[in-house]
Symmetry: C2
Amino acid sequence: MSKEKSVGLVETKYFTFAEPPNELALEFGGKLGPVTIAYETYGALNSDKTNAILICHALSADAHAAGYYGDEKDPGWWDGMIGPGNAFDTDKHFIICSNVIGGCKGSTGPSSVNPATGKPYALDFPSITIADMVHAQRHLIDSLGIDKLMCVVGASMGGMQALQWVASYPERVRSAIPIATALKHSPQQIAFNEVVRQSVMADTAWREGNYYEYGQPEKGLALARMIGHITFMSVQSMEEKFSRRLKNVNYNFKFGADFEVEGYLRYKGDSFVKRFDANSYLYITKAIDYFDLSAGKLIPNGKKVDTRFLIISFRSDWLYPSFQSQEIVRELKMRHVDATYCELRSTYGHDAFLVEMEEQRDLVRHFLDKTFNGYEVVREYDI
Amino acid sequence: MSKEKSVGLVETKYFTFAEPPNELALEFGGKLGPVTIAYETYGALNSDKTNAILICHALSADAHAAGYYGDEKDPGWWDGMIGPGNAFDTDKHFIICSNVIGGCKGSTGPSSVNPATGKPYALDFPSITIADMVHAQRHLIDSLGIDKLMCVVGASMGGMQALQWVASYPERVRSAIPIATALKHSPQQIAFNEVVRQSVMADTAWREGNYYEYGQPEKGLALARMIGHITFMSVQSMEEKFSRRLKNVNYNFKFGADFEVEGYLRYKGDSFVKRFDANSYLYITKAIDYFDLSAGKLIPNGKKVDTRFLIISFRSDWLYPSFQSQEIVRELKMRHVDATYCELRSTYGHDAFLVEMEEQRDLVRHFLDKTFNGYEVVREYDI
């Protein structure tokens, strides 16, 4: 999107709450509080508060989904989907994106100060789940006076939150758009998260999580991200981007980055260390691995749910393959929930949700218009 | 295979040579010498020396392909394919398996003593390639007085060696069986090898390769192997083996092995440290990444090659997907080389070459009999 269609300058807001008596009760039994949630909003809430759309982010993203901070060069992570006249249309919708608890982008997480000790929580941070993230978001939505969300949308872990919203609070979600996600992690997905965690924990600089006064476990966290990046791309997108091009032609190798793909992964790993907390990576990947809404846990048997669903997957995504989206569809159809599904042909692998804007925009726009206005949208900007 | 059909007790032999003047000339320009090759043989060489089959091993295996050492409990890594009456039939064939140079199982590698210093080579070991491994094997074959190999066979990196034998010495190979392999690594395959290397090198115990007096970089090498293991299995085989079963049910997780799949990977990683040298892992993965016989390098244009090929891949193998085997077939057919191809339906992923014995046996037996005896083999032992 060009800057002309952007939501323009934005800023992050903070909401702090303590669930009575004074902490958030957690799914696995612990408590956390007080809890701060970092969030951004774009567009305006209408007078009857029926136009709110909640965007849920993936593993390492944040509340900054659209627009620019001051003289920032790159916009928010889903700017291509959000703005005046866009799929999430700030001329019509009130859009909210909040950072998950357990994260490190303004919401309470393991790098936050533990009020009991005055030091960062580190591994004293309690175990959190996707349901806890959504529970905390619900407090934010309550505080904004919104009774029912027009839509909850998200890709990857964001899609899990969208599903969890329906499982936890079906009466508060009019529609949901889970993208490139799953009802539960397969053992292969757990295995990839496990090697990511092991990468962090194998670094002696991790110090059992107590690294805050010394600096991040840089090597381990960079390696974790390198592994992640392989799973985000497809065989084809890597072939197109790098093929076997050499970065260095010194054949007397001493294990430098000889191939371009190696240099790219190292660069991605190193940049990640500057922007993401290692312990947050551990907590959030565990929350994802424990997520499981299969076998009737999404919609309990006999329960009537009116939420309408649009499910999207990408053919080349091997991290969250299409069969997992089809399982969501099957689960919904078996419970007589209104669901429509589309597999997009993108070659970008799991990354597609961040880069394949055109078709996603079209699907979302059409779905929201059909659901809430009862007519087909006129495609205005297609090539 | 039961012990009755085994080749029985075996032992590793050693062959040391120095290519005149006194070192092996390497593809990327260095020299190495003297060179020792660890190897095993099963069956007997016939008088005209026409019944020799060379088995090439994969990344972390060794010369011990069949039979038992003393009171060893488990046989060699491809015991199910080798023995009296088996596909590689010790009643008829003379079977050779040698450890690659760069390895750590008896052949000269980075953990060997550098005669110039009296200490392990470590990173003073020169860069080696698949062609260098095959070049060294050729010296072994020469020393055994074998002019022409009846067959060169191998899976994964072993398949690359089989292809390289034909590229380097086509007149010395009557038939070749590359299994679950490729003409070259894709950027995704390079990327997986790169994170494997980074795992080792991120461990401070690696000490830039000079760890021999202190012990292995255990955490890094274990992590490297964990990553490898994920790529060896398929989504389906992991689902069948582990599903989402929990090993521990303590939800207040502190990043232990909660799921069975996590425990399995940790176990596999820890055992690997006891049996494989970290620097060998670095050198061999680099050799694999640099391997490239695509675009006419396997069979130069206009060159007549009489070698007959059987190419095998496994449908669920996503590390060396079938399309890469099909590229080998296409390359051969375009050069008018006799090649037959079969994709097996195994669900075991890349591991299939080690576990799916029945169908591989049948294919190999049939191919060898058809090629060398001109008749169809009688299936004697099938269920």
